[in-house]
Symmetry: C2
Subunit: 331 residues, 2 copies
């Protein structure tokens, strides 16, 4: 690996002149520039990114933080895609971090030492060590999801999950359902609180008493969905189930089939999150454009880094509700 010194020698100039040629901050005569570029080419020289980062305190790298549960969800894939492609336009790269939400924030704050100019954090948790560490190091941050209360000043970006859960619940209530189970997301996530809020609101408006025992939490896997569905269906206490995603819904479908319960005649199902899961009958769900969310997150983080004005909390309209056959009217 040739260095700036090699190039300067070969071109017969000083190190700083070579530097100036590459970062264009100072005028260099065409003649000298050509000499330098020629020397650089012959030596296969290109400014070392680590040294640049160290000297400039700028790496053009963005960290994307997502939790590792052994497998990614469709949402993760699409957001990664949106982020990577958009960052590429801005001449940035993305580094994937699979750190856990509840890492111990000690003895050294690991994350603050990472070579990134900014962080995009997925699925923010109510208690989130990643946020804590990154905030403490003053790293620019964009949250994809709602910010936890302690960090409500952070820039965030999300669809309105209160509204989505509200609409879904309302839909079921309008179809005559009174006993609606909610299989919500993991209890430590901000999105979970929002969904519950929408669910409760719809009940309240319809004058139906909120029954906490109808609400469950789930880590968004098919097996867990199935397990919960088993409990719900065996106790025969609901006419409808709202799941956090169609993945979980597929678990519900399986268990219903197992028990000879027909969807939608015996049981209605609605999924708050949609992926590519194909179910029969098609499940009603909300489809979010996660790729666009990723792109928007990038636009924001770049603005923050460049100290341009930006909207602190953006509510995205990037979703649509699919009303399908899985929801039936009951008397």
């Amino acid at each position: 690996m040739s260095t700036i010194l090699d190039v300067s020698k070969k071109a017969g100039v000083s190190k700083s002149t070579v530097s100036n040629v590459f970062n264009k901050k100072k005028y260099v005569s065409d003649e000298v520039r050509e000499k330098v570029l020629q020397a650089a080419k012959e030596l296969n020289y290109y400014p070392n990114k680590l040294a640049l980062g160290l000297a400039n305190n700028k790496t053009n790298m963005i960290g994307l933080f997502l939790e590792n549960f052994g497998e990614f969800r469709n949402m993760h894939h699409k957001i990664i895609e949106g982020i990577a492609i958009k960052l590429n336009e801005y001449n940035y790269n993305v580094i994937l971090y699979l750190d856990s939400v509840d890492g111990d924030v000690s003895p050294g704050m690991k994350l603050r030492a990472e070579p990134i100019d900014g962080a995009i954090i997925l699925d923010p948790a109510i208690e989130d060590s990643r946020i804590k560490e990154l905030v403490s190091s003053e790293t620019p941050i964009v949250l994809v999801g709602r910010a936890p209360h302690d960090y409500s000043n952070l820039c965030s970006l999300d669809v309105n999950n209160v509204e989505i859960a509200y609409q879904a619940t309302k839909l079921l209530i309008e179809h005559g359902h009174r006993k609606i189970v909610l299989i919500n997301s993991a209890s430590n996530l901000t999105i979970t609180a929002d969904r519950l809020k929408g669910y409760v609101k719809a009940h309240f408006e319809a004058g139906i008493e909120f029954e906490p025992s109808l609400v469950y939490n789930c880590n968004n896997t098919k097996s867990k969905g199935r397990e919960l569905a088993k409990r719900v269906l065996e106790s025969n206490l609901a006419t409808a189930i709202i799941t956090e995603s169609d993945v979980v819904a597929s678990g519900v479908y399986e268990e219903a089939k197992m028990q000879g319960i027909k969807i939608p005649s015996d049981l209605s199902v609605f999924a708050l999150g949609g992926t590519d899961e194909t179910l029969t009958p098609e499940v009603g769900k909300v489809i979010v454009d996660y790729k666009k969310m990723g792109e928007d997150a990038v636009k924001k983080i770049i603005k923050i880094i460049n100290k341009e004005p930006f909207e602190s909390n953006t509510e995205l309209e990037a979703y649509r509700m699919v009303k399908a056959k899985s929801v039936a009217r009951i008397e």
Copy 2:
């Protein structure tokens, strides 16, 4: 951001002692260690990754190189997933690079300046500037796909695409087809050459003359698949089409429907690559376990980096052939 110097002062020791506490290469007394750790904690200190990288010539970052066509394919998502999760186990991170295959390898070899310890390259092309640059900088490399001839010494990893194309073609021939169109992948990829080879081999073995005009290339999009299908179907020259993927196959399906051509009675279709695309009737295809490919790529790159022995070219068995209704017997 506190530095190693701050910690050493606070703990009343020298910089190198602090360094030794953190990288454990030299013995430090428990007493001193505690003092240092305590000081580090109070100062929120953690060794700066950039400085570490510069001093050690080691970053624990792996570059994943994939071309940017505006959207990722299922294969990309799954490989990213496998790589990110596996690298995490080894305490590495992954950086995504969306560089083009045919970047100009001048005037400065950009890629060689990246802060990575190794590179995993997807969809290697026959002429691939990424490989060229990375090889010239002696970066450890694993190719996911077959190595181009110029770089046949590079470590690579793939399913046997010659065999897959051979089997698919043979299947169609055994069903009586003689005019089989191949909508192959992009002409600059090594996989494309392999698929053609398998296709030709099956024809040869069956004593059917190879007809080059039946072979097309495609960038793996539905629209392009449809466009090519249009030409094929209008000229009425084939009884079967092999596509590079089920995404392309879906374009073929659409066009066939448009023209009133029934699958499989009028036209048989087989896809060489499978994703989650759902078609009716289900299309015969080969499904590759890309997540596993990603994981295996990681194991290899780590071995290379650690200078452990490794198998240079691995043929993965991570695929299965799905014979579905889209293939019919003709007289």
